[in-house]
């Protein structure tokens, strides 16, 4: 019986040891980060963290060629601190900019990879201010492609990552036309009418955006503005 116990213990030790060896692969040892930059203005291109532009990457050396994705933060930056040193095919996809071609990138240590992009729409001369019981946004639109502008919107949320997919209140307008770069667009959000979600005395983030009518396109935005109500 004692012998059997010894055997079982030995087997257990062997099993645990083998389990340990499987777990002993090296951890991701590199970081990949960067910013989506407007190719004309060199300014970061604002994004949505939820349902926003994504970065697809395929690690070389595996026959499966599995696509992995990274999200982009609202300010147009992204960062992956858990990536293996290797060569990757990297493609920003489903974005608010003119499509880019996949590129081969060697990731090693701290690797910076910025994407120069042509945003579908630039929001210009943006003003968002409280006027009486309303928050009023005015801006011009500079579209860089011939497609129609589908919609414009003003979005509100307590967090700075406000956007069309993340808002507690909104004011939108359908456009469905090519826009005149000199026209001033105006959106008004009635604070009183949204008093169930917008509490007086609280701070909120407001962000104006517009979306182009193109397959898989995402909203283009101006920077979010913080206002106290």
């Amino acid at each position: 019986m004692k012998k059997t116990k010894t055997y079982i213990s030995a087997l257990l030790v062997a099993f645990l040891a083998s389990a340990c060896s499987i777990d002993n692969y090296p951890a991701p040892d590199a970081q990949l980060y960067g910013t989506f930059l407007d190719s004309e203005t060199n300014e970061p291109v604002e994004q949505d963290i939820i349902r926003g532009s994504q970065i697809e990457f395929i690690e070389h050396g595996y026959s499966s060629e599995t696509k992995q994705t990274m999200l982009v933060k609202n300010d147009g930056t992204y960062r992956n601190n858990l990536i293996f040193s290797n060569t990757y095919t990297i493609t920003p996809v489903r974005g608010n900019f003119v499509p880019l071609t996949p590129q081969e990138v060697t990731v090693k240590g701290e690797t910076q990879l910025d994407f120069k992009v042509q945003p579908y729409i630039r929001l210009k001369d943006v003003k968002i201010e409280k006027v009486g019981s309303k928050v009023v946004a005015t801006f011009k639109l500079q579209q860089t492609v011939i497609n129609n502008v589908r919609k414009i919107g003003l979005y509100v949320h307590p967090e700075p990552s406000v956007g069309e997919p993340m808002r507690t209140a909104l004011a939108e307008q359908e456009i469905n036309a090519a826009t005149d770069p000199n026209k001033v667009y105006k959106l008004e959000l009635d604070v009183a009418a949204n008093s169930n979600v917008l509490k007086a005395g609280n701070q909120y983030f407001f962000r104006a955006g517009a979306i182009i009518d193109a397959p898989e396109s995402k909203f283009n935005y101006a920077k979010a503005v913080r206002l106290g109500l």
């Binding site: 003119v98 499509p99 880019l100 071609t101 042509q118 492609v145 011939i146 497609n147 129609n148 193109a214």
Partner: protein, 436 residues
């Protein structure tokens, strides 16, 4: 012990030997090949940028024109008579001084006539029209499958001679485009030889003889159409890579425009999935993606809206120039024996053409390729053709006319408006201009 000494000495011996060798073999510097420099004095078109040029098929012949090729590209199954033709649009030959009677008749019983580009006066008229309407010029198509044969070579050389003369007379840009459709790998050497022959025969690069031959990046521009298509061609992208190297030569004597499929950048749809295509494109100077049949008026914005600027951005990054193709419409019912293909892509009185012109301009394009000046088989011609209701009879089929309320030079005029916009004139928008 002696052996040990020998081993100890060996490294020194071998070292000293190598030293002696180094002295003997002084690296021979390859003599740098000097790139050819062209005298551009008096040259009329130093860049494709800012120009609107059309493709010129010039492949038609008529019985009795002296080419000895019968009704080439008019006929079908060896006959050019009602029910047997490959053309959908009928050329309007009112202004031609030399025409040919055909077996086709108008409703009133009069014989319908055609022209032949084998005749100098007909080609002259075409270039006169280009000048009248501000169209910058044409790319003369040179079909490898045709010029390999004696009669084809005779024909296309005659048409080229006609065109060189007329383009000089009217100050229109001219360049040559090899169309590789139907070619095989073995034909690449033929192209190199043919191109050398042409340069000598016509003094193509002589700035005094032909100041209107198109230059780009300081060199004469030669176009090669048909690289990267996934339609089962008998030559490869690697063949074209070698061809481009040979045509440029070590002295880089020509700039190259490549005609590529529409989805060249994403390597999908009509394009072979091979990264080598991008390598070859990067070795060229200009690309022109083939857009005929890739969209119509209703699908244009969805397809080209983001595709065009993405193409242009790629080309800018890689320092390649980009000429989008625009076409007025498409019709090949007679060619394909299928009545449902008459007006397959309707012209909309020029709305479709202008939609593409504006799309290209607003997306940042700097030059245009118009398909085509005289292509009546596939119904993309911009030159003067008969109007709907005034075309000859065609047994139980028909000919597609241009819209009856338009003047027959409408598409020439509209192409000329595009040229003026690309030349930098103001006042043009996405709205098709109105003729006053």
């Amino acid at each position: 012990m002696r052996l040990l000494h020998l081993f100890l000495l060996l490294p020194f011996l071998s070292f000293s030997c190598r030293g002696a060798d180094d002295d003997d073999k002084k690296p021979i510097e390859p003599k740098p090949v000097e790139e050819v420099k062209y005298d551009e004095t008096g040259v009329l078109f130093k860049s494709y940028k800012g120009l609107v040029m059309a493709g010129y098929q010039g492949w038609f012949t008529a019985e009795g024109d002296g080419a000895g090729r019968g009704w080439h590209h008019y006929q079908k199954n060896g006959k050019f008579e009602p029910g047997f033709t490959s053309i959908d649009f009928w050329p309007d030959v009112t202004e031609y001084s030399k025409t040919y009677n055909t077996a086709f008749k108008y409703a009133d019983g009069t014989a319908a006539k055609v022209y032949s580009p084998y005749d100098e006066e007909s080609v002259d008229l075409h270039f006169k029209w280009m000048q009248e309407h501000d169209i910058d010029g044409v790319y003369m198509q040179r079909f490898v499958g045709e010029v390999k044969g004696e009669s084809g070579k005779k024909h296309f050389n005659k048409v080229l001679a006609n065109a060189l003369k007329a383009s000089k007379k009217y100050g229109r840009a001219i360049s040559i485009m090899y169309d590789l459709s139907g070619s095989a790998s073995a034909d690449m050497d033929f192209i190199v030889k043919d191109w050398e022959e042409l340069q000598k025969q016509f003094l193509l690069f002589d700035n005094k003889e032909y100041p209107q031959y198109l230059r780009h990046n300081g060199r004469p521009l030669l176009a090669i159409w048909g690289v990267g298509f996934n339609d089962g061609r008998k030559y490869t992208i690697a063949d074209i890579q070698k061809l481009v190297e040979k045509l440029k030569g070590p002295t880089k004597k020509a700039s190259i425009l490549l005609g590529v499929p529409y989805y060249w950048r994403t390597l999908g749809n009509d394009t072979e999935n091979s990264q080598l295509l991008h390598t070859v494109i990067k070795s060229a100077d200009v690309i022109m993606p083939w857009a005929v049949g890739r969209y119509n008026a209703s699908s244009y914005t969805d397809i080209a809206g983001t595709h065009l600027p993405a193409d242009i951005a790629w080309c800018k990054t890689n320092n390649i120039d980009y000429a989008p193709l625009v076409f007025p419409g498409f019709s090949w019912g007679n060619l394909k024996n299928d009545k449902s293909l008459y007006n397959q892509i309707p012209r909309g009185k020029g709305d479709f053409l202008w939609q593409q012109v504006a799309g290209a301009k607003l997306s940042g394009a700097e030059a245009l390729y118009v398909a085509m000046f005289d292509e009546v088989d596939e119904g993309t011609a911009i030159f003067k053709t008969k109007k709907e209701g005034e075309t000859p009879l065609n047994a139980d089929g028909k000919f597609v006319g241009i819209e009856p309320d338009l003047p027959s030079d409408h598409y020439l005029w509209l192409t000329g408006q595009a040229a003026r916009w690309f030349h930098g004139e103001s006042g043009f928008t996405a709205q098709r201009p109105v003729r006053k």
